[in-house]
């Protein structure tokens, strides 16, 4: 006598696919998602980054079953247990190789992974590598890893997760490659703190006043002066409002991708620059973030990027609330996964 037949939750389209899969894994409910880009004449079915995410889920869980239809437009997922990165051979790090056709930034993988990680049995250490890791913000709307590190990971501390055990190592930066596809970055997430029941939080008071602004200006494979220009432009906008602005400038070489054996040999990709800003408030745990990358086809000056980022930040601040659009899924998921205590949060 085996387990009873599972009842599927049925969804359509690939809208918030990662979040659906994460919640399915956390609650143990099997899901059935159909009509994934079924009407698209050119590329129906699951996109490469979505396949990579499923692979990642498979490698950190045990006993999960995924079935993808022949066309890729239907996905069935029966979640397993989140084991973390223990059972895999070759050290304690799970490697997640993203293909070079990946258009989404690595934060698209990181955010849902971080939501799963607190409920894992063992620490989750995942290294993203391959020809598709874009560490910068992307035009597809993903934030940069700097924002994840400085604006998202600190949110976990309020839930009883030890901040010093969370680490996001950026081993190699990369912006989006030609046509917004691929990169060559290497990012390692070490999530060493696990909880059974996360605490809840009460952030229903005023978000307080913005007291300082921090940020990272990154330029990969382009002149480091771009960073300075972005910072300058952003400061020009923000300085009248808050004097305490500190934006780090980060220059890296563009990563090498491709085989030696292939026709072109190894080549550099992921050239670009961008700016990530966060605004910290006087009440604890309230962080606004803004992220603007240079488009992969170029044609935008660093000054524009800097200004846009600053304006985006101002817009976020003016929208108010204690969590932003970027952090809301994380915070709400963790609140929902807690005990039956009431948590309060102002969005």
């Amino acid at each position: 006598m085996a387990a009873p037949a599972p009842e599927y939750l049925r969804f359509t389209t690939h809208k918030s696919l990662t979040h659906r899969l994460v919640l399915s894994t956390l609650t143990g409910r099997p899901v059935h998602i159909s009509q994934i880009r079924s009407s698209s004449p050119t590329n129906p079915g699951l996109a490469p980054h979505e396949i990579s995410f499923l692979r990642l889920l498979d490698s950190i869980t045990n006993g999960s079953v995924m079935q993808i239809s022949y066309t890729g437009t239907t996905l069935t997922y029966i979640p397993g247990l989140i084991t973390g990165s223990v059972s895999t051979g070759g050290g304690d790090v799970v490697r997640c190789v993203l293909p070079e056709t990946c258009r989404r930034g690595v934060s698209w993988f990181l955010l849902p992974l971080c939501m799963l990680a607190p409920f894992s049995k063992a620490p989750i250490n995942v290294r993203f590598e391959g020809d598709g890791v874009i560490t910068s913000a992307t035009e597809t709307g993903d934030v940069s890893v700097d924002t994840v590190r400085t604006a998202i990971l600190p949110l976990y501390e309020a839930f009883g997760i030890i901040g010093s055990k969370l680490e996001l190592r950026i081993l190699q930066r990369s912006c989006a490659g030609v046509g917004g596809k691929g990169g060559g970055g290497v990012v390692e997430l070490r999530f060493g703190s696990q909880v059974r029941l996360p605490k809840t939080l009460h952030m229903n008071r005023s978000p307080g006043r913005v007291k300082r602004i921090r940020g990272v200006a990154y330029s990969t494979g382009v002149s480091a002066s771009n960073s300075a220009r972005m910072i300058n432009a952003a400061r020009g906008v923000l300085n009248p409002l808050v004097p305490d602005i500190h934006v780090a400038s980060q220059y890296d070489q563009a990563p090498l991708v491709g085989d030696k054996g292939s026709a072109g040999g190894k080549k550099r990709t992921g050239v670009g620059f961008g700016l990530s800003l966060i605004a910290e408030c006087s009440s604890e745990g309230v962080i606004y973030s803004a992220d603007v990358p240079a488009p992969s086809q170029g044609g935008v000056t660093p000054e524009d990027i800097g200004k846009r980022c600053a304006y985006q930040l101002l817009e976020m601040v003016s929208q108010g609330g204690c969590i932003t659009r970027v952090g809301a899924p994380t915070v709400l998921t963790l609140m929902a996964m807690g005990s039956e205590d009431v948590g309060r949060e102002e969005i």
Binding site: M1, A2, A3, P4, H14, K15, S16, T18, H19, T27, G28, R29, R37, S39, S40, N62, G63, G80, L81, S107, W108, L111, T140, G141, D142, V143, T200, H202, R205, S206, P207, G208, R209, V210, K211, L241, V242, P243, D244, S282, S283, D291, V292, D304, R308, Y311, Q312, L314, E315, V317, S318, G320, R325, V326, S339, E340, D341, V342, R344, E346
Partner: protein, 1118 residues
Amino acid sequence: MDDQSNRPHRPSKDKKKHTGDRNPKAFSFANPGRLAKTAARSHDIKEKRLHVPQIDRIPEEPPPRLVTIVGPPGVGKTTLLKSLVKRYAKETLSDPQGPITVVTSKRQRLTFVECPNELEAMVDMSKVADIVLLMIDGNFGFEMETMEFLNILASSGMPGNVFGILTHLDLFRKPQTLKDAKKRLKNRFWSELYQGAHLFYLSGVINGRYPDREIHNLSRFLSVMKNPRPLIWRNSHPYSIIDSFRDVTHPTKIEEDPKCDRTVVLSGYLRGTNFAAQGQRVHIPGLGDYTVAAMESLPDPCPTPYMDQALAKASGKTGRRRLDEKEKKLHAPMSDKSGLKIDGDMIWITREKGFNFDKDAEDVERGEGEELIVSLQNERKLLGEAVEGVQLFSNGDAITSVAEEDSGRKQPRSARFVERDEESDEEPNDEGFVSGDEYDSAEEIELTDDKLGRAFRKSDDPAGGDIAFADSDSDLGSISGEEEEAESSDEDGDTRWKENMLKTAQQLQGKRRSYRTADLAKLMYDESLTASEVLKRWRGEVEEAEDIEEDSDDEAFFKKSGRETADEKFEDRAIPFLDYDALEAKWSVDDNIEALRQRFATADLLGEKKADQSGSDDGEGEDSDEGDGAFEDLETGEGHKHDDLEAERAKNAKRKEELKMRFEEEDRDGFNNDKAKARQETGEDEEFGEDDWYDAQKARIQKQLDINKAEFELLEDSQRVNVEGFRAGMYAKIVIEGAASEFVTRFSPRMPIIVGGLSATEDRFGFVQVRIKRHRWHKKILKTNDPLIFSMGWRRFQTMPVYSISDSRVRNRMLKYTPEHMHCFGTFYGPLIAPNSGFSCYQSFSSKNPGFRIAATGTVLNVDEATEIVKKLKLTGAPYKIFKNTAFIRDMFTTAVEIAKFEGASIKTVSGVRGQIKKALSKPEGYFRATFEDKILMSDIVFLRAWYPVKPHRFYNPVMNLIGWEGMRLTGEVRRDEGLPTPQQKNSQYKPVERATRHFNPLRVPRALAAELPFKSQIVQTKKQSKETYMRKRAVVLGGEEKKARDLMQKVMTLRNEKVAKRRVAKEEKRKEYRKKVEENAEKRGEREKKEKQEYWRKEGKKRRAETDGEGGGKRRR
């Protein structure tokens, strides 16, 4: 005599006065050693008190405590139950069955359950009982059931309160034996539980009950008991003990197929945590897993006086004291109570004096059942219908005739919401969630307040309820935005609000924003609306005012086909699309920047304050100048530079004020600090030092609980249920669909029925790794893959565990049997459960096996979807050709492929020579070359040690004893039942091992060969001795005197031996006689013992029979 002079006493020494200003001895310790000891002890006691702080989720109106009466048959359980019911409810139950709830004090109730003498019931009761009354026959001593129950209790989480009750103490004739027996039993009981466990003594039975005084003492203990530390399992799961049961399957369905699946309604008090409002998964031990089809809270059938009062207050109906208030204190639907007994779907009404169903008869004492029948004769009246008509609102007109009733039922009446359906006849808008009309929220509140039926509400009075509503309104409004001021004026008082309700309603009809979360929920879950539409409605925007800007924005961005844009929209963006040009335009305007500045630390606090003040009160703004003026008058003496100085001072004062405000905002206890305000509001103003960690934790937990309470009290009842579920303490009915028909047909009210809620993980299946130990009182060790019944969580199921042990922490090696006295690991397939939960195991629940039935106990270590258990596998082979260190081995493998897999594997001979597999030979398939550290012998056996993974069988068989169940049998049992012989393999039979001793021939070298050997290899042989050796020279020969002496000694000894032999024979003769006598004695004693034993078992048999008669005990007479 007078002049006798004694020596005077020695004068005492003068004590030296201390020199300082005060006595130093007065400020030191008299006994430093003792002081240290007492201090250490008091600290020990203080530390012992501390436990990890645990959240106590017992609600304000807790469910009745569950008291279970456990004991072997014939010990007096039913008698005790009757006595207790008589004590509390002043009522005599002839045949108490099922849970019986009584009110014991102003705020406390108890539910009594008699646990039948079946192991399944004992296992179930151990999981839910708050208080255990463990009955022991004092005259007989402890019986196996008592010991079993104590051990079950220990493995499923010992409740704090286990009381022993010794009965049948009147059967002792001598006071001394009684005293001794009491002492002996007390010591045994204490060693089973803890030193000082409570033990009560009940003597004889008077009028079928125990003496009132003794019962009174016991009840005093029951009622003064404090809440024990909550058990983790019960504090994290909802559960309920079912006290009434009804089959609501459609009768025609049953008629068509008597075996059809049934829909049953189970009702009982909810306990533990909250039942989810929808889709709660539950396990009913003995029946299986179900999803709750519907759930509804019912009015409390047995409210405490406190709740009654509160209810009367809330409903406005004061003190309608009923004549039969006495009866209300007892709730026992399964028992025969005052002539009414609910048995399944039937109600039995019994009356001794004959029935009188005349409803007009006055002054007739009727039982509850008769009341029921009589009340059926009443003509049916609609709810709230009085003589003058239906009054919908308290201030509204009474409706005498209904113009047109078109809200008739559209569906056949379903079983679940009988009461609600009836109500919805008159109140079509009452459904709360379903009817999506948002304008009548005000009326809805009125109705719910009046109705108040469902659950016990704790609002003080209707006015209080309304005020709470108003509070919530403004709270919620402040979240959504700033426009709510416009309407807040008409929320000030409930009376005024009610008076001009019509007007307000008309106002609201036009354009009204709803601020209640209830409405938001309605909108959110209305599937006909899209998210954006919902947002619009929530914001109060009308349909026509489309958000044109946004749309045009999107179109500007996407220049692809409509399909593509839709697809793109589905992509989740963390960064929204923003029109940066518009943003730039917006943020280059100074006013906007200044407006935003208040969100930054550089904000002009003074300006803000002024703006605030002028906003609230216009006259206030100017007053602040006056202060400046006065200040100036006092301080300024000089005329020149007056303006300059004044300006400077004004600037300074302003700066000072701003600094002060900044301080107030940033300081920890500042007036403007949000956090400080929050702290003050929640009362968390105490500071906790380093040593007060424990108190700080407790305060934090309490604070959270207060927040929960405050938040949930803002919600109305139906919504509260939707959010937090059905909370513990409610009396609710649970509808289960698809229960097997045997559940109804075999239903026995004696068996307790438990509905235990399952969490999401417990609904999944996988491999569970446990640490398990055979119980030391269980006779046999357990075998791997033998079916075993686990009682874990709510469930009881049969599964096939594989036992293993950690082999030097490298691997889990399978064990064929559990160790005798040691823990080992067990892995089995079953429902997942949180690690660290305890469990107990049984080979069978049947009472046929006489021994101790708990086979093993343990805790869960880990749950997983895979297992890593291995067993040892030895492959043997034999060399057929040996070189120096190389040998060719055969008979280990059959194909070269197998060998390829094991290339490089280490092998070994029996004598311990180690080696390695090198390569398969091409010619004879399955032969290979191996190398060894030394030359091996042809007679050596070569073996390869390998590990073979073992998987437990995916076998899970829940014990469904309520619908008739037979577990999987052992192979041996099946063979025995079927009469099949055990197949025996010839090769598996044991034969005497015949090992020929190896015989090594001596080395013989032919003489011719020896002669030719080189000198170095010459065989060295010693020559024969030619001279006499030293020893031979000294050989002794007897002679003369000594020879004679020896001869004599021989003769003497012979004579003596003869004598001894004769004496022995004589003694043997005597011993035979004695032995015969002893034998006779033993025979006599045996006979007597047999007789005694028969006598004893005759008595014992009577006692057991009493239980099987189904009449309970109490009929025993000795």
